[in-house]
Symmetry: C2
Subunit: 449 residues, 2 copies
């Protein structure tokens, strides 16, 4: 039976904790999967959380710690002393330990490191040097390596020794005497081999996908996805094996990237959790709101130039929001498609011209459809003259918005700027201004003002 956290369970747990009842936690919590225990602790306050945490054995504590939500973990870690943190870190995989250590202030890092076993500390200090977003920052130093000259028998003995430290073994890495990565070996092939067979006659040395410590995290994700890998070896610039990255960390990375893209497209400039403080939330939202205001002020300037015409035909003002909004919507649609195909690396060899042509054609088609519909509606609601103005300008705006929405991310990408920032409010705002200018110019033309 899979555990499912319910409100009832939480209520009962909190009551039992308040009664200082350890039996309930013992029976109902500590046998759960670490990820489930973490889910429970995420919902408790700090005192309750500690009550549960201290009933776990030390190995389980480490696993639960890594599964906690970041904010909960930070609060939790803060209430430990240096020795306690050091103990926890020694229970963790090196990449997780480095992440936690990296989140601490420098002085605190030094205190914790001083409390650790020298070997473990050395590994961690090394990992801390890597940029978090690179393969070096993602990798763990726990992996299984065997020498290419060994027989299977020695390999299994060695494996048994190493495997104690390595929680999940997917692939065995084969190295030469200088620890350079030569290839990989599956556990399966080892299982079926005779004890005296040499690794060199057994391992796979073609199409070995590895990354170097400075490979960008997103590139690691792309490679593991493309080649369907569950772990990828990390080598240094001399091709010496230094670590491995496992797919669970990459799944987290992919989710985070997707969340970030979604937030950017929605006008949030910093990645923030829903439970962050009001001021952090405000700071994350203000940049885009200011861009929007700036666009609105520009729009006001554009309309200001047509003050006399609006005084003559106030009905012109009625369709300002329609024209502005449609320009924005079309722009966001076009740019989203481009941004996504750039991010996924699809159609990488189709030229800018081909895409813009296609998008322009699409703009013409959608402009024609929307323009025709609005012509009829506006005629019926207002007048044929206004219908003509609105439909012609809507047609033009949709066309321009489609072209600009395609061009801007492509141009940004050409110059190495992340095109994801170009979608959302930025393109909306620009198309608003362009759209208004088109609309009023068209109005002057149609009404002969």
């Amino acid at each position: 039976m899979r555990f499912e956290l319910t409100k009832d369970f939480l209520t009962e747990l909190k009551e039992r904790i308040n009664e200082n009842n350890t039996a309930f936690v013992d029976q109902k919590v500590i046998h759960l999967h670490p990820a489930d225990i973490a889910e429970i602790i995420d919902e408790l306050d700090n005192v309750e959380a500690k009550f549960v945490f201290h009933q776990l054995d030390s190995e389980l504590q480490g696993e639960v710690l890594m599964e906690l939500e970041e904010e909960v973990r930070e609060k939790f870690i803060k209430s430990f002393d240096a020795k306690q943190i050091a103990d926890q870190l020694e229970n963790l995989d090196s990449d997780d330990a480095a992440d936690i250590l990296g989140e601490l202030p420098t002085e605190r890092q030094l205190e914790v490191i001083a409390q650790m076993d020298d070997d473990d500390a050395a590994d961690l200090v090394e990992l801390l040097n890597y940029d978090e977003s690179t393969a070096g920052g993602l990798m763990q130093t726990e992996y299984i390596q065997v020498n290419v000259d060994w027989p299977v028998k020695k390999c299994i003995v060695e494996l048994r020794r190493q495997a104690e430290e390595v929680e999940k073994v997917y692939t065995i890495y084969v190295v030469d005497n200088y620890e350079k990565l030569l290839g990989v070996l599956s556990l399966k092939s080892l299982l079926f081999a005779r004890p005296t067979t040499l690794i060199k006659d057994l391992y796979q040395d073609t199409n070995i996908i590895s990354v170097t410590t400075n490979t960008d995290g997103e590139e690691v994700a792309r490679l593991m996805d493309k080649y369907d890998l569950v772990s990828i070896p990390v080598v240094d610039l001399q091709r010496k094996l230094v670590g491995r990255i496992t797919i669970d960390d990459i799944v987290d990375l992919i989710r985070e990237e997707a969340d970030k893209d979604f937030q950017m497209a929605s006008g949030l400039s910093e990645s923030v959790e829903a439970n962050a403080s009001i001021f952090r939330l405000s700071r994350a939202r203000l940049p885009w709101l200011f861009i929007g205001m700036f666009g609105g002020i520009l729009g006001a300037q554009v309309i200001g130039n047509f003050e006399i015409q609006i005084g003559q035909i106030p009905a012109l003002a009625f369709f300002i929001p329609l024209v502005a909004a449609m320009g924005g919507n079309v722009g966001v649609q076009s740019s989203a498609v481009v941004v996504q195909s750039l991010a996924n690396g699809t159609n990488q060899f189709s030229s800018i011209l081909t895409r813009v042509k296609k998008e322009a054609l699409l703009g013409l088609l959608n402009g024609l459809i929307c323009g025709s519909v609005i012509f009829v509606v506006t005629w019926l609601l207002e007048s044929p003259m206004l219908g003509l103005t609105v439909s012609l300008s809507l047609f033009t705006v949709i066309f321009f918005a489609a072209v600009l929405g395609t061009l801007i991310p492509l141009i940004l990408d050409k110059y190495g700027i992340d095109p994801a920032v170009a979608t959302g409010p930025f393109i909306t705002t620009m198309n608003d201004v362009v759209g208004l200018f088109i609309y009023f110019s068209m109005g002057m033309l149609v009404f002969g003002l």
Copy 2:
């Protein structure tokens, strides 16, 4: 060395193919990783693609086929006869084969199945019955299972037999005499065990995470992510083991879901690739554009009620786009945060009231900041009266947009509607209309019209 597809390589390849030069493909292409070969074929036309494809051996053909982009594969498969397709399907993992078979029209499916080996065909037909988006639709029938009563020795013999069919072995599934799933066994533990040890003394039977065939794909992804699994066993309603799902398929699923969410937030109603036909692209975009137009027409009706006032003070019209755009932006920001935290299952137990309160507070803060800024700007550009109108209404609009942007996805979610559809144009449009009404009402109040 990792292969990197360049424009030069493509140009040379196309030239060699035109010369009917098989040696180039032999030397430079067929030794590459299947994913790389697929990447190359994606960029070729159908004739060129076939030229390359026919030089691959049959196993490689199957692997390459699965790595092709969907449109390319469809075109490719269409040019095969039933026998050729049947041969290809037998080379593939059952989940991939079922996907390809499922994409064909029913008559063609029957033709292909008639050409297949009976056992393979039976597996496929069974898989085709499952809904694509469920665990049954995602699973493959290739996995390793051993009986709980076997000794390690028999297990390894059996494994060797089964392992020929199973490309990647991550976990061995332990079943009873009725094929019911009891637990899992790692290859590692098998490697270190004595030949006479019984599986029942070796396997892990606590915290076994499995799904049933009707579990939703997104739920499978959530579980594999939460419990850091590389494969998950699938059981039927009697707990009989029927398949497994591997992490590479889940990574694809996560990416697709993220893409879909991003597209929905950008106002694209169907998932479409950038290289789809103009008419499919147009169809995907029109629904949102129509919603936008509808909102614009409503907006026009609202403004229409203030025609006299605009005639008196045309400057009121200047700030229509600002007020409308800001309402939309704030609404999208608020809803994006809610949609994301709903999708990720974070803060599941904080009540609707708590969230709306927080979002309202945030709306007040951002409204105050933006309102103050715009007051000064509008005063300087136009007049203090207009400044007062714009700033007061902006403040109110931001507040309302924040609250509505939070409430709507929460309410939709309560009623089981995917809240992702609520972001983007829908909320923008609604806030436009509400914003305009607030703006002109405020204008009448301030100017005493």
